[in-house]
């Protein structure tokens, strides 16, 4: 039985994972095992861990792109894994997702990218649509870039346009997949502040999947560390900074060796070279 998370008793969670087991195919490596997580409304919750530990899989489970083999993934109390396509589409209108590299539609301008969800799901007039899109672009500081194509803007700007698109329908849940990856320090700071600002301005809940410690600890209310498909540690950023847990220490201090070994498991040096170091 998986250990209960400290957030387990939160009555008002928008998303809950209860005893989730997941692997991409039967018999393949288990990605998540008995995972329990709570994401309370109005908070910025970070999911952290090394590359390939299953962080993004958590977002894919919440979005219903993949289903858990065991356990439940609840969004506003409904099990996402049990939904049919129609129900899933309805629920996804209440979720915004920012992809790692923005995933902007390359054949559409910045304006049309942000207008896309509004055009598909609402029947607002062109004037209202224009105002809404410009307001969203203004919120991310890119009102002036409305006519540019995705190929004409930087990676950081693309991430901000994608953020404007993700919040176009004012969703109560915004998911961020590696929002800081590959950004220069200025863009990184802007993106981090925008995530916090959007959370407050929209009254939304934010789930942040990342391995960038300083920015995340600045803006997150609560942090989960995942390792080997389980929660290795959790707490507020202050709790984790003060933690003596060797895994948390290694991750926070960026030590190359520790509970997460530097060397991939294999033969010993003695076996390979006939000598030890």
């Amino acid at each position: 039985m998986a250990e209960p998370t400290k957030y387990m008793n939160q009555a008002d969670s928008i998303v809950s994972l209860k005893g989730v087991d997941f692997s991409y195919a039967p018999g393949e490596r288990t990605i998540l095992s008995g995972l329990n997580m709570e994401f309370p409304r109005g908070k910025v919750v970070a999911v952290m861990g090394g590359s390939g530990c299953g962080k993004t899989t958590v977002l894919r489970l919440i979005g219903g792109q993949v289903n858990a083999q065991q356990g439940q993934v609840l969004f506003e109390g409904q099990d996402v894994g049990q939904m049919n396509t129609q129900q899933l589409m309805t629920v996804r209108r209440r979720m915004g997702m920012l992809f790692q590299f923005g995933a902007l539609f390359t054949d559409m301008s910045v304006f049309e990218n942000v207008a896309f969800p509004l055009r598909e799901h609402t029947k607002v007039s062109e004037e209202t649509l224009r105002d809404l899109v410009l307001m969203k672009l203004n919120a991310v500081g890119l009102r002036g870039a409305r006519d540019l194509m995705p190929s004409q803007i930087s990676g950081g700007m693309a991430r901000r346009v994608a953020l404007a698109r993700a919040i176009a329908l004012d969703p109560p849940l915004i998911m961020y997949d590696e929002p800081f990856a590959g950004l220069d320090p200025i863009s990184l700071g802007i993106t981090a502040r925008l995530i916090r600002y959007m959370n407050q301005a929209l009254g939304a809940t934010s789930i942040l999947v990342t391995h960038d410690i300083p920015e995340t600890f600045e803006i997150a209310d609560y942090v989960y560390f995942i390792a080997n498909g389980r929660i290795a540690a959790e707490g507020t950023p202050d709790d984790l900074r003060a933690s003596t847990d060797p895994f948390v220490q290694q991750f926070v201090s960026a030590n190359p060796d520790g509970p997460v070994p530097f060397h991939y498991p294999g033969k010993t040096l003695l076996e390979d070279f006939g000598a030890s170091v």
Partner: protein
């Protein structure tokens, strides 16, 4: 013994994989058809794609049609001249183009020009997570992205084949009449008398519509199912050309047997 077993196992796996692929493609095709009704409410999605896949193929189709017409005029004249029937050159050129060369060469050129472009576009959209992003915005990519492109291909192909045929006839005329000296009245009157609107032109159009479904669907399927890597997209593009071309030739044989046999 183990070689025999391994060969049988390999053959079984090959057949099974292909059957699974065929079943999956059929389901995808039916899913696209089910999602096509909304295009009547948003015809702009289709017309944009007709412009993209159809209009951009126009030049290659027209130029190829002209040269094929030139060659038909020359070869037709040399052959007919042996029997003193060079007056039938117009009929030969028109029947060759409307029944066979128009639909088939247009489909092969379309596979190379528009098919590869569609596969690469969809494959790169997949690799760039654009299709996943669309799904996460509660928009079905099969309806919003794939269906308009499939219908654009089905609409464009007969139009392009008609253009190919018309330009080809003009090419045959230019070589046959002004260059070689076949009688102009005989060229056009034999064509008018020998080409049937329904059995020749109509069947040619039906052929090109069937090729439009086949080539466009193969291109879209390959893009949609490609591995989201540069190698995956490149392999999918190659598969589009190979599978489309073979399918067009095989379908042409079947359709010709059905349409023109007694």
């Amino acid at each position: 013994m183990s070689i025999v077993l391994n060969t049988l196992a390999g053959l079984g796996a090959f057949v099974r994989e292909n059957l699974i692929g065929l079943g999956y493609a059929t389901r995808m095709f039916l899913a696209i058809m089910r999602r096509s009704a909304f295009l009547f409410k948003r015809p702009r999605l289709v017309t944009d794609q007709v412009h993209f896949v159809g209009n951009y193929s126009f030049v290659i189709i027209a130029v190829s049609g002209l040269f094929v017409g030139f060659v038909l005029g020359l070869q037709g004249y040399y052959t007919l001249n042996r029997y003193g029937s060079e007056q039938a050159l117009g009929l030969l050129v028109a029947l060759s183009l409307t029944r066979e060369l128009g639909p088939v060469i247009t489909a092969l050129l379309f596979a190379g020009r528009a098919g590869t472009s569609l596969t690469a576009e969809i494959g790169l959209m997949k690799a760039g997570e654009q299709l996943t992003a669309m799904e996460m915005m509660a928009v079905d990519p099969l309806g919003r992205v794939i269906a308009p492109r499939l219908w654009a291909g089905i609409i464009s192909m007969p139009i392009l084949a008609t253009i190919f045929t018309a330009v080809g006839v003009l090419g045959g005329y230019l070589v046959g009449v002004p260059l070689i000296g076949v009688d102009s009245g005989a060229f056009w009157s034999q064509m008018q008398g020998g080409v049937d609107l329904f059995s020749d032109i109509g069947n040619g159009l039906i052929k090109s519509m069937v090729f439009g479904v086949a080539v466009t669907f193969i291109a879209l399927y390959q893009g949609y199912e490609s591995k989201p890597t540069p190698e995956g997209v490149s392999q999918a593009t190659t598969r589009t050309v190979v599978i489309s071309s073979l399918s067009v030739l095989a379908l042409d044989f079947l359709l010709t047997a059905m349409m023109f046999s007694n």
